[in-house]
Structures are given as structure tokens and as C-alpha cells.
């Protein structure tokens, strides 16, 4: 079975935890449509680093009485069922390569508050050939194919067609790409193979 891993960053995970928010509803519905059928096109992954990023935000809001433990419990429930990507030594080695290469190219890895999270997230996605789903591109687009969460479930997106086992992988990928929205790939994206 051919299934494309959609690697959810903390913002995408946060949307799934709060699906009733009108801005999140179309994203959640698209994600469930892509992954919920008997022959899914996409498999949703929760990288450990994204769970960490989101959990600390939740706990901060709970401490300020701006959120309740409902958010934390939903994150627990989701991450117990989603395909969880662990932060292995291999991932960290790859992430270190990404970080040093970005610095070598003069890109400001310290421009965001969580550059390490970015490169680790990218490394986790790269190890499984996944596409990162995110609201903010940051420097991820230089590391890994990216889909904006806003682009998933756009009204103009085509409905996922019926699937056939004899569809060639390249054709299937194009179908999914056309269906769920544009995948951004930077022309100077760092080569995965060269950093292992």
C-alpha cells in the first residue's frame, strides 16, 4: 500500500486538538478524509519534537488559566494513536548536519526561537520521506517538502478519487499533490543523502 506520511508540526497538531474552531475545521476534515478511508492516501505522523513544542505551550496556557487540561488530554489521546516519530540518534545526527549546513550557507538558524526544533522536525520527516504540514515555512522549506496547513482542504482542491492498486507511485503522488494542495520544494533544498 502506498501512503504518504504527513508530518504534523506543532501548529498542525494544535489544530487537530481544537477542531471546532472554524479556522481549523476544513483542515481537520481534509486530514480525516485523506487518512480515514480503508485505503488511505496519507498517514498522519506526530514527531516527538512537535508534541514537545505543543505540550509546553498548552501547559503554559493552563498555568495562566487561558486553557484547560482538555487541550493536554486531547494531545495525549492523539499522540497515543498517531504514528509517533521518535527522536533517534540517527535523526539527531541528520539534524546536526542540517543545522551546520544552514549556518554554512549563512542562513540565520537563530532567527527563530526554536531552530533546533525546526531541523529536528525536518530530519524526522526526511527519514520517512514525509511532507511537513505547517502554518509557517520558516527554513523548513530549504530542508524538506512542505505543505501549508492552510492549503489542505481549500475549496478548489479536488476530492480524492477512488484508489486503485495498479496506479503507479509517481502518478499517485501527483494525484495526492493535486488533491491536498501545493507541495513546496525549494530549488536549493539540502540533499538528504549528503547529510547522513
Amino acid at each position: 500500500m502506498v501512503t504518504i506520511p504527513l508530518v504534523l508540526d506543532s501548529s498542525a497538531l494544535g489544530k487537530l486538538c481544537h477542531p471546532k474552531q472554524p479556522k481549523n475545521r476544513s483542515f481537520v476534515e481534509a486530514v480525516t478524509e485523506l487518512s480515514g478511508s480503508a485505503t488511505p492516501y496519507a498517514d498522519n505522523c506526530a514527531p516527538a519534537i512537535a508534541e514537545y513544542e505543543l505540550r509546553r505551550k498548552f501547559l503554559r496556557l493552563v498555568g495562566r488559566n487561558q486553557a484547560s487540561l482538555v487541550s493536554v488530554e486531547r494531545l495525549d489521546d492523539l499522540c497515543s494513536e498517531l504514528w509517533l516519530l521518535a527522536r533517534s540518534r540517527h535523526v539527531l545526527r541528520l539534524a546536526a548536519g542540517y543545522w551546520s549546513e544552514l549556518r554554512r550557507r549563512g542562513l540565520p538558524t537563530d532567527a527563530s526561537a526554536s531552530p533546533d526544533a525546526d531541523v529536528i522536525l525536518a530530519a524526522q520527516a526526511a527519514t520517512i520521506g514525509g511532507w511537513v504540514v505547517t502554518s509557517t515555512f520558516r527554513h523548513l522549506i530549504r530542508l524538506i517538502p512542505v505543505i501549508r496547513s492552510e492549503d489542505i482542504g481549500r475549496p478548489h482542491a479536488r476530492r480524492v478519487p477512488a484508489r486503485s492498486d495498479n496506479v503507479p507511485p509517481a502518478e499517485f503522488e501527483q494525484t495526492v499533490r493535486n488533491t491536498i494542495g501545493p507541495v513546496w520544494i525549494h530549488p536549493n533544498q539540502l540533499p538528504f543523502s549528503g547529510l547522513q
Binding site: V2, G14, P19, D43, S68, I128, S135
Partner: protein, 58 residues
């Protein structure tokens, strides 16, 4: 495109996730609408919205 190599989530797990999301979508109350703006601000406060390519180098 790299494909999964037997590491993907199981169909049972995917089904549970969809069921879970449907329950949350139909829960009464306005919790999500109240919390989301604050959370969204937290998630983006220290990040740069690039909306595509950044041209800071290559």
C-alpha cells in the same frame, strides 16, 4: 517519493483518530473557539511568516 516501509500507523489507529476528531467536532460548548486565538498567538509569536520562499540566500 519515498514510501513507507511498514512503519506507518495501522488502520485501526487511523480509525480511532478519525473517530476521536469527530467526537471533538461535535462536543457542545465553545472551548476550541475560546482557546485557539491564544494558542495560535503562542505558536506564532516567535516565528517568521515567510509565505513561501525566503530570499535570504541560497
Amino acid at each position: 517519493m519515498s514510501l513507507n516501509a511498514g512503519l506507518e500507523g495501522s488502520q485501526d489507529h487511523r480509525r480511532v483518530v478519525v473517530s476521536m476528531l469527530n467526537v471533538w467536532l461535535n462536543e457542545p460548548g465553545e472551548y476550541d473557539a475560546e482557546v485557539w486565538p491564544v494558542l495560535a498567538a503562542e505558536l506564532t509569536e516567535d516565528r517568521v511568516e515567510l509565505h513561501g520562499d525566503d530570499s535570504s540566500g541560497a
